[in-house]
Symmetry: C2
Subunit: 414 residues, 2 copies
């Protein structure tokens, strides 16, 4: 039986025959031409021929707001590509489904449904949500992640102190800034040693575990060695700028049995691909399904709040892609990021649930009582939200002045 990977596109055109276009894609991106084939050859070629699964044409709606999607003529087209046509790696899948086609007018890749066979070659997250929860011993609340405030140009003792203050606040994960590359001031192995020492010191105060995601950077062929160097120095997680290297580079890190720590995927550069309506790749595929298939244990993406904004339905679609049941493929932690302060925690919980990560930078470091208090305010907000108590009421109790101060500064979003 032929197995297929199915791509869903949205093609825009004011007058195209979308059914004809769909057939053109299905044939053109597989066997090249069909009508010209000799009859004898057709039998051989049938198993290689792409199939049009569906073509849903959307005609402009009368009275739709000009410029809105409803006012446009487009079609959602599903094409099934036989697995036999391409090798079982994400680059081959992307080149097959959206290589040449990406350049062919106004067309957007919405989704890719891989076959069971293809998925079996993508082991997915090594830890996944449950595995990361196990490492931290935390199962009953969203995790709290923090980001260094500033990293470029700082010396080790300064980073170590930043790390320590974050850890004291009770965060579960701390990640490097994505723009912290290998550098003489804070080379990865020294940075990891210093930060993990700070983590141990803080742990004596907080009594909790902590993952530190060190940024794996540099030349492609050296990524594995760089990751190993970080792990050998004590790193218990990694950060990776997936889109600067391609999904397969992530998959190779995730597959490597020696890289036995969770990997957090950073969305750097993804904005070059997902925002426009007529082009590119839908965010739930780019930052959702493909990241999970390639093995990210945690995936950062823009939150619907704050300065770097993604529409809420898109963020929810990413989270859904990362977490829905997919056979043996483990789910990845959604990490909606940017512009997060404690007053957003109830909303975040409502949107993304307990199996998500609350990730803050400025909302921790910018706390009026300092970085450690910033983390504590978040933990208090998480406790309140889990108990279904209004943040303002929760913050009014003694010992919760950190949350109180955060709310005074940033407010509570309803």
């Amino acid at each position: 039986m032929t197995s297929f990977c199915t791509a869903t596109y949205r093609a825009f055109d004011e007058k195209a025959d979308f059914h004809k276009k769909a057939t053109g894609i299905a044939v053109g991106l597989t066997v090249g031409s069909w009508t010209e084939l000799p009859e004898a050859k057709k039998k051989d070629m049938e198993k290689h021929l792409g199939q049009v699964v569906s073509v849903d044409v959307h005609e402009p709606e009368a009275g739709a707001a000009p410029g809105s999607l409803a006012a446009e003529r487009y079609a959602d087209i599903k094409i099934a590509y036989p697995d036999v046509n391409f090798s079982r790696d994400i680059p081959a899948l992307l080149v097959t489904a959206f290589g040449k086609l990406s350049m062919d007018g106004r067309i957007r890749l919405l989704d890719l449904d891989v076959s069971d066979g293809f998925r079996k070659t993508c082991p997915g997250p090594k830890f996944g949500i449950h595995g990361v929860q196990e490492l931290l011993g935390v199962h009953d609340r969203p995790l709290l992640m923090s980001i260094f405030k500033s990293v470029v140009g700082y010396e080790l003792p300064e980073l170590k102190e930043q790390f320590y203050q974050q850890a004291l606040g009770g965060v579960d994960l701390i990640k490097d800034d994505e723009i912290l590359f290998e550098n003489p001031l804070t080379p990865i192995e020294k940075r990891v040693e210093a930060c993990m020492a700070a983590a141990r010191d803080a742990s004596k105060q907080t009594g909790q575990k902590l993952l530190y995601a060190a940024n794996v950077t540099g030349r492609t062929s050296q990524l594995r060695a760089q990751a190993k160097k970080a792990i050998d120095a004590g790193a218990n997680a990694l950060l990776f700028n997936v889109l600067a290297y391609g999904f397969d580079a992530l998959q190779e890190l995730a597959e490597d049995p020696d890289i036995n720590v969770p990997i957090a995927a950073h969305p750097a550069f993804s904005g070059a691909m997902y925002p426009p309506r007529h082009y590119g790749v839908a965010p739930q595929l780019l930052l959702g399904k493909l990241m999970r298939l390639a093995g990210a244990d945690l995936v950062l993406f823009p939150s619907p709040y704050g300065s770097v904004v993604m529409p809420k339905d898109e963020t929810l679609a990413i989270a859904e892609s990362l977490t829905r049941h997919e056979g043996a493929l483990k789910p990845s932690f959604p990490v909606p990021s940017a512009g997060i302060h404690p007053g957003l925690v109830p909303l975040l919980l409502e949107d993304f649930g307990v199996r998500s990560v609350v990730n803050a930078g400025g909302g921790i470091h910018g706390h009026p009582m300092g970085t450690a208090a910033g983390g504590q305010a978040f933990r208090q907000a998480i406790d309140a939200a889990l108990q279904g108590v209004e943040l303002e009421a929760y913050a009014a109790e003694p010992g919760r002045e950190q949350l109180k101060a955060a709310i005074e500064l940033w407010g509570v979003k309803k």
Copy 2:
């Protein structure tokens, strides 16, 4: 002295203070914050601080057509990033200049000017235009490249015959289809052996040399081995789907002393990034400068003709990026592709000059007298254009019925 890589952005906003936005980028993507730094620290940090080079605000022009660029409010912003902040690799450069920023509203990366120091770490094309011309012994005319008609599902003898017919037509380069991955019917080493044997046979007829660019595919860490396998089997060029793997994967292939053949970069997936006005990466950077920096000897991009169309000014900008004088960096061959037939050759020559590659698929295989005649028609068209003779007049002479037939089918574009 501080050296910098300078990024040029186009940011769109109806009312933003673009100067403030520029300062936000320059500080935010380097030292994080400046005003909060203690005075003593500022001295240390100065060399890490991004610089606003220029902000050119464009106000909507009165009377501009609605929807046109002229009708929009935008600013072209140049920011200089100190080299000291990032490692000398293209992923680090992209993450620094357009990592988080790519997700920050309507903003497009137009250009990256790397420092001399950064450029020195990018050796660029190993062969470049002159080197490829040397390999072929052709200096005085554009090269002619052809593409297999259909590849998926074909057996070796069929591919060999397709190759032979193309070679007989007098083409200089033949490339694999970008969707031909490692497969049991035509594994790369067998394919290369068969095709290079066909090339030798054809050479006895044509008396000319030929490069065969075999498609290097598969897992990232195996690309080098795959390239070596092709070369060991006799491949004298390679094709690579750069954007499915990232620019650094190309650079590692190009830098490898054992990969001593020209590399042709395929633009598959690039359409996910360059088309929209408000987002993504300008094509002259994505398919021009970065491909050259990373070491592509030849770069395919959509021609301004045919079905997969790119506006002419953008194709010219790509070609200019690939070929302009850049110190010791060799130029790369521009290969405008898709929809090319012999009747376009005079225009192509006018647009892209002698130092370019005429690349055809359907315009060769679809020739009424067959594939070999298709190549010959192109060679005749190239001769005519170089002599400044009208194609119709040139084709009227005896022995040029191939060009005549091509013109009758496809016409001549003026």
